[in-house]
C-alpha cells in the first residue's frame, strides 16, 4: 500500500461551487490551500462537466478563478476517515494519502432524497440529478422518453438539460401543490437573478407537460422501466417511458462533518457567522449547512474561505449576500415540503433498503432505527444508509446516527494504513 502525506494550511473538501469559492478566497489570504474531490474535475454536481469556456456564466468564471489560483486540486480522491485531529485519510488510484490541515472547510454538498414506491428498483429508474449526471458523463438520451418526477427546483433544471440533449420529456411531475409553488414563485420574483433564470427555464421547458400536485405511484416493467403510474388528488394514469428521473429534493452530506465532531442541528451542520462549526478550525459551507441553492453556497464558501485564511474583515463583506440568499433557502424548504401521500406508496413487498433488499413490511414492524438496523440490516450496506436513511426518516421518523470510519467503503489495506506508526 502506497502511503503519502500532504500538508496544507487550509484544506477544502468538495469541489462544488461552495468548495471552489472557498478555495479561491482562501488562497487570497496567502496560505497553502488544498481542494479535494472524488470526481476527476471540479464542479461538484451542479457544475459537472462545465469548463472554463462554458455557457454557464457562474461556472465558467469560478472555474477560471480556481485554475488561476494557487489552490492545489487533489482529484479524484475520496476522504474516508480522520485518523487523528488535523488529519484526513483519503484514497485514490495512487493509494492512501494522509492530508494534514490547520483549518478545514467542509463543502461536501448534498445528494438527492429517494423515497420508495413499487417498481422504484427497476433499471432506468434513477434520480433526477442522477440521470442528469449520467447524461453529462456521456450517456446518449436522444429520442428516449423520460418522465421527470419528485420534488424541487432541480426537476426543472434536469428536464431542461435532458430536453437540450434530445430527450423526449413526457411530463414533469412535482408533488408540491400549485398553491405552494405560486407562493414560491412570488418569493423568487423578488430576486432579479432568479427571475431571469426562471424565464430561461420557461423557454427551455415550453410544451412539456408540467403537473403540480402530482407524483409517481408506481413504476412498471420487466427488466427495466417501461411505464410509470402518475397520480394527482383527482386522477391516476399511466405514462410510457424509457427512463424515470425521480428525486425528492436534497439532503445534506453531513457524514464527514459528523465524523470530525461537528454538531448538527435539525440534520444540518451548525455554523457561526464565519461559517465555523462547533469544532474550532473546522468550517462548513454550502448545502450541509442548509439546502439553499447555488448563490448561497458560493456566498458561504467565500466567507468560509476568507475566515479560514484569517481574513475575517474580507469575509464580512459577503454577509449581506448570504443573508439575502438565505431567504431563498427558507422559501425552498416551505415550498417543497413532502406530502403525506408519499408515505403510503409502498406495499409490504416494496424494497426500502436497496443494499440489503429490506422490504417495507419488515421495517414497519420495527420499534426504532437501531432495532431495524440490527434486525434487518437496513442501512448496513455499502451506501451506509445514505439512500434509505432519508427515506426511513420520512416514513417512520427515524433519525440517522453518528458516523464511524470508513465513511465510504475502502479497501481493508487502506483502512489499515490510516494510523501512522506511533
Amino acid at each position: 500500500m502506497n502511503n503519502s502525506r500532504r500538508s496544507f494550511d487550509v484544506l477544502v473538501v468538495g469541489a462544488g461551487p461552495a468548495g471552489i469559492a472557498a478555495a479561491c478566497c482562501a488562497t487570497q489570504g496567502g496560505v497553502r490551500v488544498g481542494l479535494v474531490d472524488n470526481n476527476a474535475r471540479p464542479g461538484g454536481q451542479i457544475w459537472r462537466g462545465e469548463a472554463q469556456n462554458s455557457d454557464v456564466v457562474d461556472a465558467a468564471s469560478w472555474l477560471r478563478k480556481l485554475a488561476s489560483s494557487r489552490a492545489e486540486i487533489l482529484a479524484p480522491m475520496e476522504v474516508f476517515a480522520q485518523p487523528e485531529a488535523g488529519k484526513l485519510a483519503t484514497t485514490s488510484s495512487d493509494g492512501v494519502c494522509e492530508l494534514s490541515y490547520k483549518r478545514l472547510i467542509l463543502c461536501t454538498g448534498a445528494r438527492e432524497r429517494f423515497l420508495p414506491f413499487p417498481g422504484w428498483t427497476l433499471p432506468n429508474v434513477m434520480g433526477a440529478g442522477g440521470l442528469q449526471a449520467v447524461v453529462k458523463s456521456g450517456m446518449d438520451i436522444a429520442g428516449k422518453k423520460v418522465v421527470v418526477a419528485g420534488s424541487g427546483p432541480l426537476l426543472l433544471a434536469v428536464a431542461a438539460h435532458l430536453r437540450a440533449h434530445g430527450a423526449d420529456v413526457r411530463a414533469i411531475a412535482e408533488q408540491a401543490p400549485w398553491s405552494r409553488l405560486i407562493r414560491f414563485g412570488m418569493a423568487l420574483a423578488s430576486r432579479g437573478r432568479k427571475i431571469s433564470q426562471a424565464f430561461q427555464l420557461k423557454k427551455q421547458l415550453s410544451r412539456i407537460a408540467f403537473r403540480a400536485g402530482c407524483w409517481v405511484a408506481a413504476a412498471e416493467g420487466n427488466d427495466k422501466v417501461e411505464s410509470v403510474t402518475l397520480r394527482t388528488e383527482r386522477k391516476t394514469w399511466k405514462e410510457r417511458c424509457d427512463y424515470l428521473a425521480c428525486g425528492f429534493h436534497l439532503v445534506p452530506n453531513t457524514e464527514l462533518a459528523s465524523l470530525v465532531g461537528c454538531e448538527l442541528r435539525a440534520g444540518f451542520v451548525r455554523t457561526d457567522d464565519f461559517q465555523e462549526s462547533s469544532v474550532s478550525g473546522i468550517y462548513c459551507a454550502g448545502e450541509p449547512t442548509g439546502i439553499g441553492g447555488l448563490e448561497l453556497s458560493i456566498a458561504e464558501g467565500q466567507i468560509a474561505g476568507f475566515a479560514a485564511a484569517g481574513r475575517r474583515e474580507k469575509a464580512q463583506e459577503y454577509f449581506g449576500e448570504r443573508k439575502s440568499q438565505r431567504r431563498f433557502s427558507t422559501a425552498l424548504e416551505r415550498a417543497f415540503m413532502l406530502r403525506d401521500e408519499l408515505r403510503a406508496l409502498s406495499s409490504a413487498e416494496t424494497i426500502v433498503c436497496r443494499c440489503e433488499d429490506v422490504k417495507f413490511g419488515r421495517l414497519r414492524e420495527q420499534p426504532s432505527w437501531r432495532a431495524a438496523k440490527l434486525q434487518t440490516r437496513c442501512g448496513m450496506g455499502p451506501c451506509q444508509g445514505r439512500i434509505c436513511g432519508p427515506a426511513v426518516e420520512f416514513l417512520f421518523g427515524w433519525k440517522a446516527e453518528s458516523a464511524r470510519p470508513p465513511i465510504f467503503p475502502v479497501a481493508v489495506g487502506s483502512l489499515a494504513a490510516t494510523a501512522c506508526a506511533k
Binding site: 500500500m1 476517515a81 485518523p83 487523528e84 420499534p367 426504532s368 437501531r370 432495532a371 440490527l374 434486525q375 434487518t376 448496513m380 450496506g381 455499502p382 451506509q384 464511524r404 470510519p405 470508513p406 467503503p409 475502502v410 479497501a411 481493508v412 489495506g413 483502512l415 489499515a416 494504513a417 490510516t418 494510523a419 506511533k422
Partner: protein, 375 residues
C-alpha cells in the same frame, strides 16, 4: 399488568437474557423481561456470533460443548434470518510450536468426544486457499457454526412471548429490591426472583459483581462469497483473550452467510469510549493480512466497537448472588456469550427449580468469588 408477582423477572434481553426467558417459559414459569433499549442491543449486536467449543479450561469446555450441542439441536427450528451456518472453525498454526498445541487440542477434544481433524500444511491450503503460504497446519472443528445473533435473541424472545412471557421495552431498571425491580418511572415489577442478565451493565444494578468492560473492534466487508469457508482463528487468540494486559489483537475472520467477511479481533480494558481507535484497527487488520494477504483488497464497509462483559477468571456468573435471597446472575460471558447463552439458560433454570444440571455448576457460581467482595 398482571395480578400477583412474576415468578422471575429477567433484566436484559441480550442473547443470554432472551435465552433464559425462553427456558423459564418452557418450564411454565411466569416471566417478565425488562429491556432498557432494544433486543440484542449490547454485546449481542456487536459481536461475531461464533458458536465454538473452547478448551482453555475444563469448565469453559464443559459449558461451550454443552451449549454448542444445544445449538445443533435447535438449528433446524431457527428462522432464516438467524443465518445458522455450520461452517466449522479452523484454528490456524503458524509454526511448529503452535502445531504442537494443535495436537494437544486434538487429544483434549477427542478424549472428550468432540470430533476434530488435524490439517497439515497442504490440507490447510486446500481447505482455505486464501491463507498465506508457509502456515504449518491447523485444527478443524466441524461442529462449530456461525449465526447472526441479534435475530437469534429476537427469536428467543418471540418464543418466550408465545409462552406468555411479557416484555417491558424500553424500560430502565433503577434498583433490584426484595420485592422485584423498581423502574425509572417508579413502577415496581413484583417478582419472586430476579435475574441480572444485563451484561456490562450488571455491576450497576448489583454492586460487587466483578464484571469489567472489555472493548472489541470489528470490520465488515462487502460480499466475497467463498473468500474463506470456515471461521479462521489464530492459536494466539487464546493468549489475547486470556491476557489481562491493556490491549491485544488476534486474527479472527468469519464468513457470514451473506458472503461478507467479518474481521476481528481486539481486546482492551479500561477504555470507556465507543469510538473506533485507528491504531487498534490498524493492528487488527494488519494481523488479519498476515494470515490472509488477500484481505487487504477486500472493500471494508463498516467498522464498529462493542464491550464484552469480562470476569477475572474468564468464566461467566450463573447462579444465585450470595447475600440476596431472590437474586440470580446470568452475566460475565466475555467473548462466549452467544455460544453459551443456551447452556447458561439451562443452568439458570435448573438452579431456579433446584434441579441437578447436566454439567457441574460449581465453576460458574457467583459464590466462587472470594469473600469480602459481596455487598
Amino acid at each position: 399488568m398482571r395480578a400477583g408477582a412474576y415468578d422471575v423477572v429477567i433484566i436484559g434481553s441480550g442473547i443470554v437474557g432472551a435465552a433464559c426467558a425462553w427456558a423459564c417459559a418452557n418450564e411454565g414459569l411466569r416471566v417478565a423481561v425488562i429491556e432498557a433499549d432494544i433486543i440484542g442491543g449490547g454485546a449481542t449486536g456487536a459481536g461475531m456470533g461464533h458458536l465454538v467449543v473452547m478448551d482453555d479450561s475444563e469448565a469453559q469446555f464443559a459449558l461451550t460443548r454443552y451449549s454448542r450441542s444445544l445449538w445443533q439441536q435447535l438449528a433446524r427450528e431457527l428462522p432464516d434470518d438467524v443465518e445458522y451456518e455450520s461452517c466449522g472453525t479452523i484454528w490456524v498454526a503458524a509454526d511448529e510450536e503452535e502445531m504442537e498445541a494443535v495436537r494437544q487440542k486434538k487429544e483434549f477434544y477427542e478424549t472428550r468426544g468432540v470430533h476434530v481433524e488435524v490439517l497439515d500444511a497442504k490440507a490447510l491450503r486446500m481447505a482455505e486457499p486464501n491463507l498465506r503460504e508457509g502456515l504449518v497446519g491447523g485444527l478443524r472443528v466441524p461442529g462449530d457454526a456461525v449465526i447472526y445473533a441479534p435475530c437469534a435473541a429476537r427469536f428467543f424472545i418471540e418464543r418466550a412471548q408465545s409462552r406468555g412471557v411479557e416484555l417491558y421495552l424500553p424500560r430502565v431498571v433503577m434498583e433490584i429490591t426484595a420485592e422485584g425491580v423498581r423502574l425509572n418511572d417508579g413502577t415496581v415489577i413484583a417478582a419472586h426472583r430476579v435475574v441480572n442478565a444485563a451484561g456490562t451493565w450488571s455491576p450497576m444494578l448489583t454492586p460487587g459483581i466483578e464484571v469489567k468492560k472489555r472493548k472489541g473492534h470489528l470490520v465488515i466487508t462487502e460480499r466475497y462469497a467463498g473468500f474463506v469457508k470456515h471461521q479462521l482463528v489464530e492459536l494466539g487468540y487464546l493468549k489475547s483473550a486470556h491476557s489481562m494486559t491493556t490491549e491485544s489483537v488476534a486474527f479472527n475472520v468469519q464468513p457470514r452467510r451473506t458472503g461478507q467477511m467479518l474481521i476481528g479481533s481486539s481486546r482492551q480494558f479500561d477504555v470507556e469510549g465507543k469510538e473506533v481507535d485507528a491504531n487498534i484497527l490498524r493492528r487488527m487488520l494488519e494481523r488479519a493480512a498476515e494470515f490472509l494477504p488477500g484481505v487487504n483488497r477486500l472493500s471494508a464497509i463498516r467498522s464498529w466497537t462493542g464491550f464484552r462483559a469480562a470476569t477475572p477468571d474468564k468464566l461467566p456468573l450463573i447462579g444465585p448472588w450470595p447475600g440476596r435471597e431472590n437474586l440470580f446472575l446470568a452475566t460475565g460471558h466475555e467473548g462466549l456469550g452467544i455460544t453459551t447463552s443456551l447452556g447458561t439458560a439451562k443452568l439458570l433454570v435448573d438452579q431456579l427449580l433446584r434441579r441437578t444440571s447436566e454439567i457441574p455448576t460449581g465453576p460458574y457460581l457467583p459464590s466462587r468469588v472470594p469473600e469480602g467482595v459481596h455487598a
